[in-house]
Symmetry: C2
Subunit: 241 residues, 2 copies
């Protein structure tokens, strides 16, 4: 079984529909490419207690938890406090982050210095070329909400999460789902190691459903693909990928 | 206090990074426009037990729960079963949905007919001009995952969710957050009825932060805006909206 992950997106602006979350789609694709099974995405408000509640549960259930957002200097940035609360610890000042702050803002206010107050026991992940290091607390990795900064930091860390890759095959079908549901159920039952997904396409020219097969054993996946092509009437398969 | 909501997006394809979720941003914006406070978005896999667990909790904590996805005829469509499980009831065949199926697919297989098996006690919401009616079970509204169909159905129902609207004012600031964090905290403390959000802009020409004020009392919001303009040095405010 691959390692599992949850992504916790922290931000009122997403819940109120003002900003679109670009971070969870990015992390979903990255984790998939790394072979990590993302099992849950949550978007939560900028509220310490609610974030702590969610992190406590996710940290227990999944191998990795990635948070985005809430690490700036303003009153609505409560992620470090929430992580500390989730783990039942206090805060300490990180000299590494304080140095980053002073480089950018030579006379920081109390609010700005609060960005350096990380959970006790957290690791500050200093990375070459990355200012404002990301922070890890247990299995929780804390990233900023600004997509450019999140990506820079995730890229610098990504190899530590690599697992066996997932392989994918796609079958484009010219008929609607109701004509292939029986065959797909059978395939799903015959190949428990393969994820069988069925995705109707409303406006696609030439096909009505994409069947996606996925797994970490390339040979079993190939067998599942051949079996599917055997089960479906040949004249409705537009192409495979 | 406005009514609260959660959106539960059901779909492996989003967790695996293959498909981008367009439904939760749509519902977030719609609910905001209606004055409903969206408090949580979850993306969960196509697994009956996990969906049931999440729905049980959300149904208890929020006024409305909106699900998207998992209502088609294939083996990975488990939403109705999961809702029934969350509420501890069985399934019954809906004659209204069965009629919709037969119009589209005159000789349906067993899998296709399973689309008509809704939780016992659920209301099938027949709406003018909408085929495949959405289903409500308690405070859980069940929508399809295909964005076009979700939108058609939500639009037909939206007025039943209308509350007092939220009002929004924006202040564009030429300085980074670290220069205004103290003033924002003060504003946030002085106006508990107003949500004060601070959003750094990396590539915006002419401003570095957008401060967003929101509330359901337009006059209090206006007072908060005036107070913020008083607190901030005048030369860093680029414009207000």
């Amino acid at each position: 079984m691959p390692r599992t992950a949850a992504v916790v997106v922290i931000g009122n602006e997403i819940l109120s529909g003002k900003v679109r979350d670009d971070n969870s789609p990015y992390l979903a694709a990255e984790l998939r490419a790394l072979g990590v099974a993302l099992r849950l995405i949550l978007v939560v408000p900028d509220e310490e207690e609610e974030i702590a509640r969610v992190l406590r549960e996710c940290s227990r259930r999944f191998d990795y938890v990635f948070t985005t957002g809430g690490v700036g200097p303003t009153h609505d940035d409560v992620t470090f406090r929430a992580v500390a609360r989730a783990f039942g610890v206090g805060l300490r000042e990180s000299p590494e982050i304080k140095r980053s702050i002073l480089r950018r803002c030579p006379q920081p206010s109390e609010e700005v210095l609060s960005m350096a107050r990380v959970p006790q026991g957290a690791e500050v992940l200093e990375l070459p070329g990355v200012s404002f290091p990301p922070v890890r607390m247990g299995n929780v990795y804390i990233f900023p909400g600004i997509p450019q900064y999140l990506r820079e930091k995730f890229q610098a860390l990504r190899e530590r999460f690599r697992e066996r890759p997932f392989f994918t095959r796609r079958v484009y079908v010219a008929q609607e789902e109701c004509h292939i549901a029986t065959e797909l159920r059978r395939l799903d039952e015959e190949f428990p190691q393969v994820q069988v997904g069925s995705y109707p396409q409303v406006d696609a020219p030439g096909h009505k459903v994409v069947v996606v097969l996925e797994g970490q054993d390339e040979q079993v996946l190939e067998e599942a693909l051949q079996r599917l092509l055997e089960l479906l009437p040949g004249d409705i398969v537009v192409r495979t990928e």
